[in-house]
Symmetry: C2
Amino acid sequence: MTQGIRAQQREQTRQALVRESRRLFSTLGYGSVGLSEIVHAAGVTKGALYHHFSSKADLFRAVLEQVQQEVAERIAETADAREDTWEQLVSGCRAFLTVSTDPTIQRIMLVDGPAVLGWSEWRAMNETTSGRHLAQVLGDLIDEGVFAAQRVEPLTHLLSGAMNEAALWLATSTDPRNPDDVQDALVSMLESLRVV
Amino acid sequence: MTQGIRAQQREQTRQALVRESRRLFSTLGYGSVGLSEIVHAAGVTKGALYHHFSSKADLFRAVLEQVQQEVAERIAETADAREDTWEQLVSGCRAFLTVSTDPTIQRIMLVDGPAVLGWSEWRAMNETTSGRHLAQVLGDLIDEGVFAAQRVEPLTHLLSGAMNEAALWLATSTDPRNPDDVQDALVSMLESLRVV
DNA sequence: TCCTTCACGTACTGAAGGTACGTCAGTGTT
DNA sequence: AACACTGACGTACCTTCAGTACGTGAAGGA
């Protein structure tokens, strides 16, 4: 069942479009990069772009999916290395702050993402990747009695919001103490929430 | 020292531009509103707009300043009604979640703001209004020993991020329990951070 | 009364997103 | 192997929109 040449080339140009647009979006921002730049960098024309994606925002969506996938994977492999649920939460949160400090990921995932796609769609995408893991772990910890009995959703949004903002702050701040200090503040916040 | 007719009309058109663009930005979003709509709604032309503002983003900045000013005022008058510093923090946070749930404020302040002006400028503007109050109160509480000794900035960003995300979530969620639950979760988070 | 200034309108430009349609290589069929 | 056909992509064009250049008429000082 060898893939036909057509399917190979199709996938190749699609990946080229996603790759180059991701590079441009992350460095210049969604609004400051034109389609002409993207298709030129990818070595194709606008006809190819609109054959694969229905709009500029649709292309951005594909890029964002890829970025979130990578982030979720890197967090998961860090967290899943731990056995204890509590350790998974802490290491996962630390991993998120480390990974998402990368400006490449920053701009696409946290700055342009919500504005281009709208919060509802952004949140939905987030939910299917790293957001689900966080909610899962928090739910487990509540069930285990580590956290006080409460609904998972409010807690999840408070913590994910705190981490998003922290990551954005770290990306633009220069004080070398900040990365460690914000992680410590977050972990001590989590620990203070423990009831056992 | 009566203001001349010139100055009056100038201020009048400027306010009309800010008012109408705020209305349109908040309902349709920055990217989906054209300057032609704005000037038509304000009853002027593009010449007037560019006489007062250097760009579309500059007009948005004026709108954002107005919104943040209002939010900061409403929070301040709620918080300043309390004598105790701790009570100021709690009531201020509750006020923020209440005020910023308004979709009108939402879209401009939390969604488009960072994307249009960039996080650095958005954060700088935030710092001069409500952000400063939060940092002030948190600093006082650390000094009073209510919170453990630590740097103010990391804690400030974690909490403001948590509240921003919570406000955005409340705006799109339908479950009637959410507003109360997320406030309770936030307050219990604050209380768990207390050491005395 | 004249002149200057300034707030604003008019007409235009360049660029960017998006579309209609042509074209040719790849693929299944007989 | 010859055929028709699909689909991936290029080309040319359209529309819209942010931004600019310049004209104009009223306000205000001398």
